[in-house]
Amino acid sequence: MAKEPEEHGDAYESDAYESYEPEPGSALERSDAPQNPGLPDEEHRITDKDPKAARTAERRIAMFFGLSVVGSIFATVAYVIFPIIPGDMTSVRLNNGLIGLGITLGLLGIGFGAVYWAKNLMSDEEMIEERHPTRGDDDTREKASQIFTDANKESGFTRRSLVRNSLIGALLATPIPAVVLFRDLAPAASPTEKMKQTMWDQGVRLTRDPSGEPIRAADVTIGSAFHVIPEGLKETKSGKLEEKAKAAVLLMRLPIEDLNASEERRDWSYQGIVAYSKICTHVGCPVALYEQHTHHLLCPCHQSQFDVSNECEVIFGPAARPLPQLPITVDEAGYLVAQSDFTEPVGPSFWEREL
């Protein structure tokens, strides 16, 4: 490979950078590169040649700045004379639009005025600045290196290895308390147990979201979809959303002949009425787009699809597991109730899920 940096050598030849000869790598040396023709002659603008044009430009710039003042005043006036009338959406829109347009004019006036000034009246002659290698020159580097050497000698940083190593050890140890301090960001109890339980239990009624009214089996006509929360959730004071995030259920009624239930789940449904967790097994969006004829459930976030007639098995999209089914039955009063909690954790997969 070529050792000499070709054509870039000029600046590096000065004495200050004697030791600086960077490798060109696999760049090809060009002995017969064409010559740089140098800067072309400056073309003069109309405003340079014609004082009248310069005065016109001056007036135009002043007009831009004047418009800016008008815009700022307009925005201020609009703030006062287009107030928000509570509940009147048109007044909000006017307030937003007119204050905004006033400020826009105030800003664009300054912006275009300044740029127009720079382009037409300030000198547009191109100026040249020399570059130097980014590194310090040899002398400076030598001095800097000497400072490190002296500092090392005076402190004994490399010589007194016991002191140095114990300092490094101490520095590494100091952040440990900081890590521990973050433990109480969450309560003491382990989350994994909580993640495997929901509010559903034997005899808990299925109720409508958000009213909390219980649902009779007879209310669920074929083709219906009900959005369901467990009885008592509505009255819960603390942890309501946390419980809802696990317990939300979609209730659907299919023609009984469309339902293919496995042996152990045969009595988990009631007259074609089935209840499935609404929380996607992919990353937890509510899966709620139910198609009553295809019996497909679609998640609107990542398009996972579940087949309700086949125990919500995944038929498309990134989900890996079927939606958990809530076993249901009917109580003496004819209301739908859960037979038990879900038999597996709901929602997205996690490390300790199968433990």
């Binding site: 000029d10 696999s26 928000i84 720079a118 547009d124 100026m127 969450a186 939300a248 609107p300």
Partner: protein, 537 residues
């Protein structure tokens, strides 16, 4: 700065106020030695090219974000305590919601100019990250990341990631249904992480999802920690910009050892300063005429409902798209522990992609072995393989991005979601390869065309009949200043496999030679002086 106005200036009558300015400058310099800074920076030269302004768009958007964001903090309260809505938006009256959402609604409906500031803040945020993205593409495709600017590329990359983090934390603050479902997705992704996932989620949310902690915590990240780091990193970015000086495109009079352009004072300062007001103005124009993130449509966060078309802001789209493109059933249970590949694979894919962007300058430096400084920005065609790699990366990102709106593509173009996703899955793998080949071949073809034009001029369209009856089209020569732009680039050769000092051929050397061959085997040499002279003019 010296107060002593020289006689020549006095003759030119610099205008009124000069005396006061001089006195003020002297007063300040006596106490700060500010004249040193003015002397070194005041006449610094900045080259002019529209693509050099993209970073400025990003910088100015960020300033707008700081200004509007400060206004928002005076009215917004990040509490997740539940209250009943008593504001003036009728369809939410009496609905139970977090105070955070309530105050965000009040900003929109009950505070004059509040909606304007919210919208300006959000538009500026989208513009900020878009401008950073475009700025990075400019730097990449012109090779402006080469020595001595590799570190500034790294700093810029950190800024890009910080900007995305700022965007995501801010997007979540209103605690509306859309952003709540976004947090739910983050929760689901975090939980999939082996060993620590559940605990990370538990600590972040302060309880089971959603808890009542996450919004205040994100708020502190959004308005204090992240902006502090961002501003410090940005300052470093600017310092290195000044130290390295700006790159310039090849042109007459422009060499690797100079900068040609306009000085900071006054021309560049006026242009850049004016441009700040223009960027601010354009953002305000968008904020006053186009609705962004109508949080009142979404309602307060509730884990049960969801809206069709639930998407993140554009800059998180590529991550959402990666999640959507995974086929069903990717999960295994090993020794009782669950490995959710459906989430882990796309997460790893994104990390690898971002790492590749981060490390690219070092990879190219390793391939070329070139240790010299480069200050001439390359035209993309003059680095065909790099341009091909960039095109592949853009395609890869673009496919992921498109996948995040697969449902909207399906409904707007009357296709099925399944069809769109399957097509994008194929395109994610085939697209980058095709894009690389097409871009590289196009670059080589353009280089050949440039060579032709440099040597023979361009076709003038004028047909001339020679005395012998032959017709020819006259080729018009470029003037030497125009021609120089086509001549000034460097050529690299492929590196053969060579043994090292110990006479061994290491795996590293083989790899490097293979990469070098991939980069430089197909190339078009720049025109030499001899070739130029041979041509009849």
């Amino acid at each position: 700065m010296s107060v002593a106005t020289n006689t020549e200036q006095q003759k030119q009558e610099p205008g009124k106020g000069m005396k006061f300015t001089g006195a003020a400058a002297s007063y300040i310099d006596d106490r700060t030695s500010a004249s040193v800074a003015v002397k070194t920076l005041g006449r610094k030269i900045f080259p002019d090219h529209w693509s050099f302004m993209l970073g400025e768009v990003a910088l100015y958007s960020f300033v707008v974000i700081l200004i509007t964001g400060t206004f928002l903090t005076f009215f917004y309260d990040p509490s997740m305590t539940k209250v009943e809505y008593e504001g003036s938006y009728l369809p939410l009256k009496g609905v139970e919601m977090a105070i955070a959402y309530h105050t965000a609604l009040d900003l929109s409906f009950d505070i004059r100019g509040g909606l304007l500031m919210r919208q300006a803040h959000h538009w500026a945020a989208l513009l900020f990250i878009a401008a950073i993205g475009l700025h990075m593409l400019r730097v990449f495709f012109t090779g402006a990341f080469r020595k001595p600017r590799e570190l500034n590329w790294v700093i810029g990359f950190v800024l890009f990631v910080l900007a995305m983090a700022e965007g995501f934390t801010g997007y979540s603050l209103p605690d509306d249904l859309l952003s709540g479902n976004g947090l739910r997705i983050i929760d689901g992704m975090v939980k999939a992480f082996p060993v620590i996932g559940v605990w990370i989620s538990y600590l972040l949310f302060g309880d089971e999802f959603p808890g009542d902690q996450v919004i205040p915590r994100l708020y502190i990240l959004h308005i204090m920690l992240l902006p502090a780091i961002l501003i410090a990193t940005l300052a470093l970015h600017m310092v290195l910009l000044v130290v390295n000086k700006h790159t310039q495109f090849a042109g007459p009079g422009r060499t690797n050892d100079n900068v040609v352009g306009s000085p900071v004072m006054p021309t560049f300062a006026a242009k850049a300063g004016g441009f700040f007001f223009i960027v601010f103005g354009v953002i305000m124009l968008m904020a006053s005429t186009f609705t962004i993130n109508p949080i009142w449509n979404y309602g307060p966060y509730d884990p049960s409902p969801v809206g069709a078309g639930t998407q993140p802001d554009w800059y998180i789209g590529f991550a959402d798209g990666a999640l959507r493109l995974i086929p069903p059933g990717w999960e295994t249970v090993w020794f009782g522990y669950t490995w959710a590949w459906g989430v882990l694979v796309p997460t790893l894919l994104l990390i690898v992609f971002l790492a590749a962007v981060f490390l690219y300058p070092f990879f190219e430096a390793w391939v070329t072995g070139d240790k010299r400084e480069h200050h001439i920005a390359q035209r993309p065609r003059n680095a065909p393989t790099r341009t091909g790699i960039g095109a592949a990366g853009v395609t890869f990102y673009g496919v992921l991005w498109a996948a995040a709106s697969s449902d909207l593509i399906a409904t707007h173009f009357r296709m099925s979601i399944e069809g769109v996703i399957t097509f994008l899955q194929v395109l994610l793998i085939a697209g980058p390869i095709l894009a690389h080949i097409i871009a590289k071949r196009t670059c080589l073809a353009l280089q050949r065309k440039d060579r032709e034009i440099a040597l023979h001029g361009y076709e003038s369209g004028r047909i001339v009949r020679l005395p012998g009856g032959e017709y020819i089209e006259v080729h018009e020569q470029l003037d030497e200043h125009e021609r120089w732009k086509l001549l000034d680039y460097e050529e690299y050769t492929p590196l053969p496999v060579r043994p090292n000092e110990k006479g061994k051929i290491t795996v590293g050397r083989r790899l490097r030679s293979a990469a070098s061959n991939w980069f430089f085997e197909d190339r078009v040499s720049p025109v030499s002086q001899k070739e130029l002279e041979k041509q009849p003019h």
